[in-house]
Protein backbone atom coordinates (compact mmCIF):
# COMPACT_ATOMS: atom_id res chain seq x y z
CA UNK A 1 0.00 0.00 0.00
CA UNK A 2 1.45 3.35 -0.99
CA UNK A 3 1.69 6.34 1.32
CA UNK A 4 -1.03 8.06 -0.65
CA UNK A 5 -3.36 5.09 -0.31
CA UNK A 6 -2.87 4.81 3.39
CA UNK A 7 -3.70 8.50 3.92
CA UNK A 8 -7.01 7.81 2.21
CA UNK A 9 -8.01 5.47 5.06
CA UNK A 10 -8.38 8.34 7.56
CA UNK A 11 -12.13 8.69 7.06
CA UNK A 12 -12.84 4.97 7.24
CA UNK A 13 -10.68 4.81 10.37
CA UNK A 14 -12.63 7.67 11.99
CA UNK A 15 -15.88 5.71 11.57
CA UNK A 16 -14.29 2.33 12.46
CA UNK A 17 -14.85 1.00 8.96
CA UNK A 18 -11.47 -0.72 8.67
CA UNK A 19 -11.02 -4.42 9.24
CA UNK A 20 -8.55 -5.54 11.92
CA UNK A 21 -5.58 -5.72 9.61
CA UNK A 22 -6.18 -2.35 7.97
CA UNK A 23 -6.78 -0.82 11.39
CA UNK A 24 -3.47 -2.14 12.74
CA UNK A 25 -1.65 -0.92 9.66
CA UNK A 26 -3.27 2.51 9.75
CA UNK A 27 -2.52 2.92 13.47
CA UNK A 28 1.12 2.13 12.73
CA UNK A 29 0.98 4.85 10.09
CA UNK A 30 -0.72 7.28 12.49
CA UNK A 31 2.15 6.94 14.91
CA UNK A 32 4.36 8.48 12.28
CA UNK A 33 2.12 10.88 10.36
CA UNK A 34 1.15 14.11 12.12
CA UNK A 35 -1.01 15.13 9.19
CA UNK A 36 -3.18 12.02 9.45
CA UNK A 37 -3.37 12.39 13.23
CA UNK A 38 -4.77 15.89 12.84
CA UNK A 39 -7.16 14.78 10.14
CA UNK A 40 -8.45 11.83 12.15
CA UNK A 41 -9.02 14.07 15.17
CA UNK A 42 -11.04 16.52 13.11
CA UNK A 43 -13.05 13.78 11.39
CA UNK A 44 -13.80 12.12 14.73
CA UNK A 45 -15.18 15.46 15.89
CA UNK A 46 -17.47 15.38 12.85
CA UNK A 47 -18.63 11.82 13.54
CA UNK A 48 -19.47 12.86 17.09
CA UNK A 49 -22.06 15.22 15.64
CA UNK A 50 -23.71 12.31 13.85
CA UNK A 51 -23.85 10.43 17.13
CA UNK A 52 -25.81 13.32 18.61
CA UNK A 53 -28.65 12.45 16.26
CA UNK A 54 -29.70 9.47 18.32
CA UNK A 55 -29.74 10.13 22.04
CA UNK A 56 -31.37 7.46 24.19
CA UNK A 57 -31.06 7.43 27.96
CA UNK A 58 -30.02 4.03 29.28
CA UNK A 59 -32.24 2.42 31.93
CA UNK A 60 -31.61 3.78 35.45
CA UNK A 61 -30.34 0.38 36.68
CA UNK A 62 -27.40 0.71 34.35
CA UNK A 63 -26.20 3.77 36.24
CA UNK A 64 -26.20 1.83 39.51
CA UNK A 65 -24.38 -1.08 37.88
CA UNK A 66 -21.71 1.16 36.39
CA UNK A 67 -21.16 3.07 39.63
CA UNK A 68 -20.94 -0.20 41.56
CA UNK A 69 -18.51 -1.64 39.01
CA UNK A 70 -16.03 1.21 39.17
CA UNK A 71 -15.53 0.68 42.89
CA UNK A 72 -13.75 -2.55 42.02
CA UNK A 73 -11.55 -1.16 39.24
CA UNK A 74 -8.38 0.86 39.63
CA UNK A 75 -7.92 3.72 37.15
CA UNK A 76 -4.79 3.27 35.07
CA UNK A 77 -1.95 5.76 35.42
CA UNK A 78 -1.30 8.27 32.65
CA UNK A 79 0.87 7.11 29.77
CA UNK A 80 4.38 8.35 30.40
CA UNK A 81 6.70 8.51 27.42
CA UNK A 82 9.55 6.06 27.79
CA UNK A 83 12.33 7.67 25.85
CA UNK A 84 15.14 5.26 26.62
CA UNK A 85 13.31 2.04 25.88
CA UNK A 86 13.31 0.90 22.27
CA UNK A 87 11.46 -2.10 21.05
CA UNK A 88 13.58 -4.25 18.76
CA UNK A 89 12.21 -3.66 15.30
CA UNK A 90 11.66 -7.26 14.52
CA UNK A 91 8.05 -7.46 13.51
CA UNK A 92 7.93 -3.90 12.29
CA UNK A 93 4.97 -1.64 11.94
CA UNK A 94 2.07 -3.98 12.53
CA UNK A 95 3.48 -5.35 15.72
CA UNK A 96 4.27 -1.87 16.92
CA UNK A 97 0.69 -0.92 16.30
CA UNK A 98 -0.60 -4.07 17.94
CA UNK A 99 1.57 -3.40 20.96
CA UNK A 100 0.28 0.14 21.19
CA UNK A 101 -3.31 -1.04 21.03
CA UNK A 102 -2.69 -3.94 23.34
CA UNK A 103 -1.05 -1.70 25.92
CA UNK A 104 -4.32 0.05 26.53
CA UNK A 105 -6.34 -3.12 26.87
CA UNK A 106 -9.59 -4.40 25.53
CA UNK A 107 -8.61 -3.76 21.97
CA UNK A 108 -10.99 -0.88 21.77
CA UNK A 109 -8.94 2.02 22.97
CA UNK A 110 -8.23 4.74 20.52
CA UNK A 111 -4.75 5.31 19.31
CA UNK A 112 -2.20 6.47 21.87
CA UNK A 113 0.84 8.55 21.13
CA UNK A 114 3.45 6.37 22.76
CA UNK A 115 5.29 5.20 19.72
CA UNK A 116 8.11 7.16 18.18
CA UNK A 117 9.44 5.28 15.24
CA UNK A 118 11.52 5.96 12.20
CA UNK A 119 9.61 7.13 9.20
CA UNK A 120 10.71 5.04 6.26
CA UNK A 121 10.84 1.28 6.06
CA UNK A 122 10.75 -1.35 3.40
CA UNK A 123 7.58 -3.49 3.47
CA UNK A 124 7.98 -6.09 6.19
CA UNK A 125 7.50 -9.82 5.73
CA UNK A 126 4.10 -9.34 7.39
CA UNK A 127 3.09 -6.63 4.93
CA UNK A 128 4.19 -8.81 2.02
CA UNK A 129 1.96 -11.67 3.19
CA UNK A 130 -1.04 -9.44 3.82
CA UNK A 131 -0.67 -7.77 0.45
CA UNK A 132 0.15 -10.89 -1.57
CA UNK A 133 -2.18 -11.57 -4.49
CA UNK A 134 -2.51 -15.21 -3.42
CA UNK A 135 -3.23 -14.53 0.27
CA UNK A 136 -5.63 -16.97 1.94
CA UNK A 137 -7.56 -15.96 5.03
CA UNK A 138 -9.19 -18.11 7.68
CA UNK A 139 -10.75 -16.73 10.82
CA UNK A 140 -12.03 -18.29 14.01
CA UNK A 141 -14.05 -16.68 16.79
CA UNK A 142 -12.86 -17.73 20.24
CA UNK A 143 -14.52 -17.47 23.64
CA UNK A 144 -14.97 -14.05 25.26
CA UNK A 145 -15.09 -12.12 22.01
CA UNK A 146 -11.56 -13.03 20.94
CA UNK A 147 -10.87 -13.70 17.26
CA UNK A 148 -7.88 -15.39 15.61
CA UNK A 149 -7.28 -14.79 11.91
CA UNK A 150 -4.54 -16.41 9.87
CA UNK A 151 -3.29 -15.16 6.51
CA UNK A 152 -1.12 -17.38 4.34
CA UNK A 153 0.61 -16.62 1.09
CA UNK A 154 2.21 -19.48 -0.82
CA UNK A 155 4.15 -17.06 -2.99
CA UNK A 156 5.70 -15.66 0.19
CA UNK A 157 5.91 -19.12 1.84
CA UNK A 158 4.75 -17.41 5.00
CA UNK A 159 1.77 -16.98 7.30
CA UNK A 160 0.65 -14.26 9.69
CA UNK A 161 -1.55 -14.52 12.76
CA UNK A 162 -3.73 -11.54 13.69
CA UNK A 163 -5.42 -11.76 17.07
CA UNK A 164 -8.16 -9.63 18.48
CA UNK A 165 -8.94 -9.51 22.21
CA UNK A 166 -6.88 -12.63 23.00
CA UNK A 167 -7.08 -13.30 26.74
CA UNK A 168 -4.06 -12.26 28.80
CA UNK A 169 -1.82 -15.10 29.95
CA UNK A 170 -0.77 -16.10 33.45
CA UNK A 171 2.80 -15.14 34.34
CA UNK A 172 5.44 -17.46 32.91
CA UNK A 173 3.32 -18.51 29.94
CA UNK A 174 3.26 -17.71 26.24
CA UNK A 175 1.08 -18.51 23.28
CA UNK A 176 2.83 -20.95 20.97
CA UNK A 177 1.99 -21.12 17.28
CA UNK A 178 1.98 -24.40 15.35
CA UNK A 179 1.74 -25.56 11.79
CA UNK A 180 -0.32 -28.72 11.34
CA UNK A 181 1.22 -30.85 8.59
CA UNK A 182 -0.44 -33.40 6.29
CA UNK A 183 -0.03 -36.13 8.95
CA UNK A 184 -1.74 -34.03 11.59
CA UNK A 185 1.55 -33.42 13.39
CA UNK A 186 1.94 -30.05 15.09
CA UNK A 187 5.23 -28.35 14.19
CA UNK A 188 6.44 -25.42 16.34
CA UNK A 189 6.08 -22.11 14.45
CA UNK A 190 6.99 -19.41 16.94
CA UNK A 191 5.76 -17.74 20.09
CA UNK A 192 3.44 -14.86 20.91
CA UNK A 193 4.26 -13.12 24.16
CA UNK A 194 0.75 -12.29 25.36
CA UNK A 195 -2.87 -11.58 24.58
CA UNK A 196 -4.73 -8.60 23.21
CA UNK A 197 -4.52 -7.46 19.61
CA UNK A 198 -1.38 -8.73 17.96
CA UNK A 199 0.03 -9.44 14.54
CA UNK A 200 2.82 -12.01 14.34
CA UNK A 201 4.63 -13.83 11.59
CA UNK A 202 4.75 -17.62 11.85
CA UNK A 203 8.28 -18.95 11.88
CA UNK A 204 9.15 -21.35 9.10
CA UNK A 205 7.77 -22.21 5.70
CA UNK A 206 3.98 -22.15 5.75
CA UNK A 207 3.42 -23.79 2.37
CA UNK A 208 2.95 -27.37 3.52
CA UNK A 209 0.77 -26.56 6.50
CA UNK A 210 -2.81 -27.85 6.32
CA UNK A 211 -3.73 -25.60 9.19
CA UNK A 212 -2.41 -23.88 12.27
CA UNK A 213 -2.95 -24.11 16.00
CA UNK A 214 -2.33 -21.92 19.03
CA UNK A 215 -1.68 -23.33 22.50
CA UNK A 216 -0.71 -21.94 25.87
CA UNK A 217 2.77 -23.15 26.84
CA UNK A 218 5.32 -22.42 29.54
CA UNK A 219 7.65 -19.48 28.77
CA UNK A 220 10.13 -20.46 26.09
CA UNK A 221 7.63 -22.72 24.37
CA UNK A 222 7.40 -26.48 23.97
CA UNK A 223 8.48 -28.92 21.26
CA UNK A 224 4.98 -30.30 21.01
CA UNK A 225 1.67 -28.99 22.36
CA UNK A 226 1.22 -29.68 26.07
CA UNK A 227 -2.27 -28.16 26.32
CA UNK A 228 -5.47 -28.31 24.32
CA UNK A 229 -5.24 -25.71 21.54
CA UNK A 230 -7.13 -22.48 22.17
CA UNK A 231 -7.42 -22.08 18.40
CA UNK A 232 -7.25 -24.54 15.50
CA UNK A 233 -7.66 -23.21 11.99
CA UNK A 234 -7.88 -25.14 8.79
CA UNK A 235 -6.65 -23.69 5.48
CA UNK A 236 -9.22 -25.75 3.62
CA UNK A 237 -11.82 -23.35 5.02
CA UNK A 238 -9.95 -20.27 3.89
CA UNK A 239 -11.35 -17.57 1.66
Amino acid sequence: MTAHEIHALSGAYAVDALDDVERARFEAHLAECAECRAEVTSLQAATMLLAGLSETAPPPELRSRVLADIKTVRPLPPTVARITERRPRRWTSLLAAAAVIGAVGGGTAIWQDTHHGTSTRAPSAIDRVLEAADVQKVSQPLPHGAVATVFRSRSQSAAVLVTHNMPALPAGHVYELWFRDQHGTMVPAGLMAGGGNRTVLFEGNANNARGVGVTVEPAGGSKQPTTIPVALLNFEQST
Binding site: A12, A46, A51, G52, T108
Partner: protein, 198 residues
Protein backbone atom coordinates in the same frame (compact mmCIF):
# COMPACT_ATOMS: atom_id res chain seq x y z
CA UNK B 1 -21.16 26.88 18.79
CA UNK B 2 -21.12 26.12 22.49
CA UNK B 3 -24.41 27.81 23.31
CA UNK B 4 -26.26 25.54 20.89
CA UNK B 5 -25.18 22.33 22.46
CA UNK B 6 -27.34 20.38 24.89
CA UNK B 7 -24.31 18.71 26.44
CA UNK B 8 -21.06 20.38 27.50
CA UNK B 9 -18.47 19.11 25.08
CA UNK B 10 -15.21 20.02 26.68
CA UNK B 11 -14.41 22.05 23.59
CA UNK B 12 -14.95 25.26 25.46
CA UNK B 13 -14.04 26.51 28.92
CA UNK B 14 -16.55 25.58 31.58
CA UNK B 15 -19.42 28.00 31.90
CA UNK B 16 -20.68 29.21 35.24
CA UNK B 17 -21.78 26.27 37.34
CA UNK B 18 -20.96 23.70 34.67
CA UNK B 19 -17.81 21.66 35.07
CA UNK B 20 -16.36 20.70 31.71
CA UNK B 21 -16.29 17.07 30.73
CA UNK B 22 -12.51 17.28 30.45
CA UNK B 23 -12.31 18.30 34.11
CA UNK B 24 -14.67 15.51 35.11
CA UNK B 25 -12.43 13.07 33.26
CA UNK B 26 -9.34 14.39 35.00
CA UNK B 27 -11.04 14.01 38.38
CA UNK B 28 -12.21 10.51 37.46
CA UNK B 29 -8.63 9.56 36.63
CA UNK B 30 -7.76 10.38 40.24
CA UNK B 31 -10.50 8.07 41.47
CA UNK B 32 -13.23 10.68 42.09
CA UNK B 33 -16.42 8.61 41.87
CA UNK B 34 -18.67 11.64 42.25
CA UNK B 35 -17.08 13.31 39.25
CA UNK B 36 -17.46 10.10 37.30
CA UNK B 37 -21.16 9.92 38.18
CA UNK B 38 -21.55 13.48 36.87
CA UNK B 39 -19.73 12.51 33.72
CA UNK B 40 -22.06 9.56 33.32
CA UNK B 41 -25.15 11.72 33.79
CA UNK B 42 -23.95 14.29 31.28
CA UNK B 43 -23.02 11.81 28.57
CA UNK B 44 -24.84 8.50 28.96
CA UNK B 45 -27.81 9.35 26.73
CA UNK B 46 -25.46 10.13 23.85
CA UNK B 47 -23.22 7.16 24.44
CA UNK B 48 -26.09 4.73 24.87
CA UNK B 49 -28.02 6.21 21.95
CA UNK B 50 -25.05 5.59 19.68
CA UNK B 51 -24.39 2.10 21.02
CA UNK B 52 -28.06 1.17 20.65
CA UNK B 53 -28.12 2.48 17.11
CA UNK B 54 -25.14 0.32 16.13
CA UNK B 55 -25.79 -2.81 18.21
CA UNK B 56 -29.63 -2.62 18.09
CA UNK B 57 -30.27 -5.40 20.61
CA UNK B 58 -31.21 -3.56 23.86
CA UNK B 59 -29.68 -6.10 26.27
CA UNK B 60 -26.40 -6.27 24.38
CA UNK B 61 -26.36 -2.50 24.04
CA UNK B 62 -26.60 -2.12 27.79
CA UNK B 63 -23.64 -4.46 28.20
CA UNK B 64 -21.62 -2.47 25.72
CA UNK B 65 -22.50 0.86 27.37
CA UNK B 66 -21.51 -0.60 30.73
CA UNK B 67 -18.17 -1.76 29.26
CA UNK B 68 -17.61 1.66 27.72
CA UNK B 69 -17.97 3.43 31.06
CA UNK B 70 -15.73 0.92 32.79
CA UNK B 71 -13.14 1.56 30.13
CA UNK B 72 -13.58 5.32 30.55
CA UNK B 73 -13.02 4.93 34.29
CA UNK B 74 -9.93 2.78 33.77
CA UNK B 75 -8.36 4.87 31.05
CA UNK B 76 -9.48 8.42 31.93
CA UNK B 77 -5.84 9.39 32.57
CA UNK B 78 -5.05 8.57 28.94
CA UNK B 79 -7.40 11.18 27.59
CA UNK B 80 -5.37 13.88 25.85
CA UNK B 81 -7.06 17.24 25.43
CA UNK B 82 -4.73 18.05 22.57
CA UNK B 83 -6.41 15.31 20.57
CA UNK B 84 -10.00 16.42 20.54
CA UNK B 85 -12.81 17.09 23.00
CA UNK B 86 -13.68 14.81 25.88
CA UNK B 87 -17.03 14.07 24.26
CA UNK B 88 -15.33 13.05 21.02
CA UNK B 89 -12.99 10.77 22.96
CA UNK B 90 -15.90 9.14 24.73
CA UNK B 91 -17.92 8.68 21.56
CA UNK B 92 -14.90 7.24 19.78
CA UNK B 93 -14.44 4.66 22.54
CA UNK B 94 -18.15 3.86 22.51
CA UNK B 95 -18.31 3.52 18.76
CA UNK B 96 -15.25 1.28 18.59
CA UNK B 97 -16.71 -1.02 21.23
CA UNK B 98 -20.12 -1.14 19.60
CA UNK B 99 -18.59 -2.00 16.24
CA UNK B 100 -16.33 -4.64 17.78
CA UNK B 101 -19.39 -6.18 19.41
CA UNK B 102 -21.43 -6.44 16.20
CA UNK B 103 -18.46 -7.77 14.24
CA UNK B 104 -17.66 -10.42 16.87
CA UNK B 105 -21.31 -11.51 16.84
CA UNK B 106 -21.26 -11.57 13.08
CA UNK B 107 -18.15 -13.76 13.00
CA UNK B 108 -19.93 -16.26 15.24
CA UNK B 109 -23.17 -16.23 13.29
CA UNK B 110 -21.72 -16.11 9.81
CA UNK B 111 -22.29 -19.81 9.12
CA UNK B 112 -26.03 -19.80 9.67
CA UNK B 113 -26.98 -16.39 8.37
CA UNK B 114 -27.78 -15.79 4.77
CA UNK B 115 -26.57 -12.53 3.39
CA UNK B 116 -29.49 -10.36 2.49
CA UNK B 117 -28.33 -7.18 0.95
CA UNK B 118 -31.61 -5.29 0.92
CA UNK B 119 -32.12 -5.44 4.66
CA UNK B 120 -28.89 -3.58 5.37
CA UNK B 121 -29.68 -0.39 3.58
CA UNK B 122 -30.48 2.44 5.95
CA UNK B 123 -33.27 4.66 4.75
CA UNK B 124 -32.46 8.31 4.37
CA UNK B 125 -35.40 9.21 6.56
CA UNK B 126 -33.97 7.55 9.65
CA UNK B 127 -31.43 10.34 9.95
CA UNK B 128 -33.92 13.06 9.22
CA UNK B 129 -36.42 11.91 11.86
CA UNK B 130 -33.87 11.62 14.60
CA UNK B 131 -32.52 15.02 13.74
CA UNK B 132 -35.53 16.89 15.11
CA UNK B 133 -34.20 16.55 18.60
CA UNK B 134 -32.12 19.65 19.10
CA UNK B 135 -30.72 22.78 17.56
CA UNK B 136 -27.43 21.07 17.06
CA UNK B 137 -29.15 18.15 15.41
CA UNK B 138 -30.91 20.54 13.08
CA UNK B 139 -27.57 22.03 12.06
CA UNK B 140 -26.17 18.53 11.49
CA UNK B 141 -29.16 17.71 9.34
CA UNK B 142 -28.68 20.74 7.16
CA UNK B 143 -24.99 19.90 6.88
CA UNK B 144 -25.89 16.35 5.83
CA UNK B 145 -27.96 17.74 3.00
CA UNK B 146 -24.73 19.15 1.58
CA UNK B 147 -23.34 15.65 1.11
CA UNK B 148 -23.93 13.66 -2.02
CA UNK B 149 -26.39 10.78 -1.49
CA UNK B 150 -23.57 8.28 -1.89
CA UNK B 151 -21.37 10.05 0.66
CA UNK B 152 -24.23 10.17 3.12
CA UNK B 153 -25.23 6.56 2.62
CA UNK B 154 -21.65 5.35 2.86
CA UNK B 155 -21.14 7.22 6.14
CA UNK B 156 -24.42 5.95 7.59
CA UNK B 157 -23.68 2.33 6.69
CA UNK B 158 -20.20 2.58 8.14
CA UNK B 159 -20.96 4.63 11.24
CA UNK B 160 -24.40 3.38 12.25
CA UNK B 161 -24.30 0.02 10.50
CA UNK B 162 -20.81 -0.91 11.68
CA UNK B 163 -19.86 -2.19 8.22
CA UNK B 164 -16.34 -2.06 6.82
CA UNK B 165 -15.62 0.17 3.86
CA UNK B 166 -15.27 -2.88 1.60
CA UNK B 167 -18.69 -4.14 2.72
CA UNK B 168 -20.11 -0.67 2.16
CA UNK B 169 -18.66 -0.65 -1.36
CA UNK B 170 -20.45 -3.91 -2.14
CA UNK B 171 -23.72 -2.74 -0.62
CA UNK B 172 -23.69 0.46 -2.63
CA UNK B 173 -22.40 -1.15 -5.83
CA UNK B 174 -19.27 1.00 -5.72
CA UNK B 175 -15.97 -0.18 -7.15
CA UNK B 176 -13.83 -1.73 -4.41
CA UNK B 177 -11.72 0.95 -2.77
CA UNK B 178 -13.97 3.88 -3.49
CA UNK B 179 -16.23 3.66 -0.45
CA UNK B 180 -13.37 4.78 1.79
CA UNK B 181 -12.93 7.84 -0.40
CA UNK B 182 -16.65 8.65 -0.26
CA UNK B 183 -16.60 8.29 3.51
CA UNK B 184 -13.59 10.55 3.86
CA UNK B 185 -14.87 13.19 1.44
CA UNK B 186 -18.25 13.18 3.17
CA UNK B 187 -16.76 13.54 6.64
CA UNK B 188 -14.53 16.39 5.47
CA UNK B 189 -17.55 18.16 4.02
CA UNK B 190 -19.54 17.58 7.20
CA UNK B 191 -16.65 18.77 9.35
CA UNK B 192 -16.23 21.92 7.29
CA UNK B 193 -19.96 22.65 7.22
CA UNK B 194 -20.17 22.32 11.01
CA UNK B 195 -16.90 24.13 11.68
CA UNK B 196 -15.58 21.50 14.07
CA UNK B 197 -12.21 19.99 14.74
CA UNK B 198 -10.14 22.63 12.98
Amino acid sequence: MSHLQPVPTGDVPAEAGVVSLASLLRLSARGDEQAFAELYDATSARVHGLVLRVVRDPAQSEEVTQEVYLQVWRTAARYDEARGSAMAWLMTLAHRRAVDRVRAAEAVNRQDTTYHQGSHVVSHDSTAEAAEQSMEARRVRSALVELTPVQREAIELAYFGGYTHTEVATMLDLPVGTAKTRIRDGLIRLRDAMGVGQ
